[in-house]
Symmetry: C2
Subunit: 339 residues, 2 copies
DNA sequence: CTGAAAGCGCTTACAG
DNA sequence: CTGAAAGCGCTTACAG
């Protein structure tokens, strides 16, 4: 079955291929009658514009790129990324765009991917997450003039539209919830130190703790199960250990709750646990984990719309993510000695 | 920064653009010296072939398509799909191919996606999972002559290369493990009825149960948490309920273990639980769940290689997946009254 | 309103 | 070994 082209349609209808192109693209230059005939024949033949031909002549790939820059191990366990992919894909395809996906295990590969995609005219723009400390990506994107949207940064950026979150209120919420339960020594198991939102949460949580007059001890995990457990163990190995711990993601929180016995604590009797991300993991573990929940798919969809607007018009406004909501479950309880 | 084309290179070196193309593609027709000079200049300019131009002139998209045909809810919770995506992407990109992804919530949309991709010359082939009962996809793919590989079917298929699993041995393994623990009444919470491997597991498990002389009661879940819990509740609501249940996926097993109390049983004291899929979910829930584990990413990578071979040569041999391995954890224990 | 023509950036027979 | 030319399937000014 040969795939039909506009020449086949032109021949069948008896017009030029330009006329066919105009009709198919809903532009002027064709009589109403001819247009209808052309559309009819095109549908009959099952015609679809060749994506390559259209991209070549219109200088539009109709494709948006995303590099998932995490280790395969984190990608596999974090439901977060599949939600992002699903949210992006649905929005993009609704607008006739495709999603181009790549994995990158190190920053160098990620940068190289943007360069390659752009040189190959493979994408019209890119979406990025996880702004890092001294992040080389914004400069590269500006240099190459690749339309880009950052998503999940902690505040607006110069020159690149951003979908940002306010960590200030979340930090207040997290600390407030624990303080209300009587906790006065709080631990914080953080994400990778090179991520900007790790740094931001560190600061905001410290500020919130000071505002409430409680102690805060912080340590770095790396978003993995083992990293979270190790950091928790370190936090607990002091004279007056914290009675509650906030984890920067669900995986570390869940792993620590699952291994609480080995860590020498009961959750929540000895230790309350709160996760910054929510997922099925938090719901099925026992005790179920109190967590900040937000609609990742919807956020990704929003970011996709911003990028489409940027590609279309050359500008896009910053937007702010819906604040996360605290879902209270069984892992947070009154501090030991109160209850 | 204008993106360079082969014309720019040709001008800079002082040869025709055909010569540049030959040199860049490592074909004959250029002297060694000229070739080196061309490669040098191309690298200097950061030249990359326009993917659209190359696709148009070579009739190769260098892209492989995958439709994820599950509800967003299942996609989000099942780590399976991210592993598939990761495995595919790494293999494809290593061979200069891209992955084109789409979601489809119903079979009609999925078929339409293949038609569209093919008409748009967007993909050179597709990978499929989850062969269904009366599946319309093989016929469509053959009609359109789209190179395709099915992965995870239970046996070879006519006309389409397949990466298949042997459910026979796994069924024996599952039943054997439980019988060794003294179980004589076994339940089976199945996946969606329209999936071919659901039907196959149903038969194989029934055969294995007969071979071992034990009772088997089967009921349908739908791979979701609620579906799994409901099916388990039905299995347990009889006079002599099963003392062990096999779940067709990890999500249903984990949800049922998490809600065991509401289901009126203790796991594993009253009820042993075994999951057909393994993931972090099975590890973190308490008791941790005995499960069949296999390397999904590696399987996806293998399927990708088969498809690349099919695209390249027009043929690809069937292959068999590595058998799953039983990982024994705490959710399976001696039958009540034995211990 | 309509058509002939050039062009997007490559690849690839085909003559020299 | 090298170059001029046609072609892939579209889009889009430009003349009629």
């Amino acid at each position: 079955m040969r795939r039909p082209t506009i020449i086949d349609i032109a021949r069948a209808v008896g017009v030029s291929k330009a006329a066919v192109s105009y009709a198919l693209n809903g532009r002027g230059g064709v009589s109403q009658e001819t247009r209808e005939r052309i559309l009819e024949v095109a549908a009959e033949m099952g015609w679809r514009a060749s994506s390559a031909a259209r991209a070549l002549s219109s200088d539009r790939a109709a494709t948006v790129g995303v590099v998932l820059a995490r280790s395969p191990e984190v990608l596999r366990t974090e439901p977060f990324f599949m939600q992002v992919v699903a949210g992006l894909e649905q929005t993009l395809s609704a607008h006739g765009f495709s999603l181009q996906l790549a994995l990158a295990s190190d920053p160098g590969t990620e940068l190289e991917t943007y360069r390659r995609w752009w040189a190959e005219r493979r994408v019209d723009g890119v979406l990025l997450t996880d702004l890092r400390v001294d992040d080389p990506r914004p400069a590269l994107l500006r240099e190459l003039r690749i339309p880009a949207v950052f998503f999940g940064t902690e505040r607006p950026m110069a020159g690149i539209p951003v979908l940002w979150v306010d960590e200030h209120d979340i930090a207040d919420n997290a600390v407030g919830h624990l303080v209300d339960l009587g906790h006065r020594r709080i631990g914080h198991v953080q994400g990778p130190g090179q991520l900007r939102h790790t740094a931001r949460r560190e600061r905001e949580l410290r500020r919130a703790a000071e505002d409430s007059g409680v102690d805060l001890v912080q340590d770095h995990g790396d978003y993995t199960e083992d990293g979270g457990i190790a950091a928790t163990a370190r936090l607990l190995a002091v004279e007056a250990p914290p009675t509650a711990v906030i984890f920067d993601n669900d995986v570390m929180a869940v792993a620590s709750v699952a291994r609480a016995e080995e860590l020498g604590v009961r959750v929540p009797a000895d230790l309350s646990v709160l996760a910054w991300d929510d997922s099925m993991l938090c719901r099925v573990v026992r005790p179920a984990i109190t967590a900040f929940s937000h609609d990742v798919g919807a956020a990704a969809a929003r970011a996709a719309l911003m990028l489409l607007e940027l590609i279309e018009t050359g500008v896009a406004d910053d937007a702010r993510l819906q604040p996360r909501e605290l879902v209270t479950r069984d892992s947070t309880a009154p501090a030991p000695g109160l209850g």
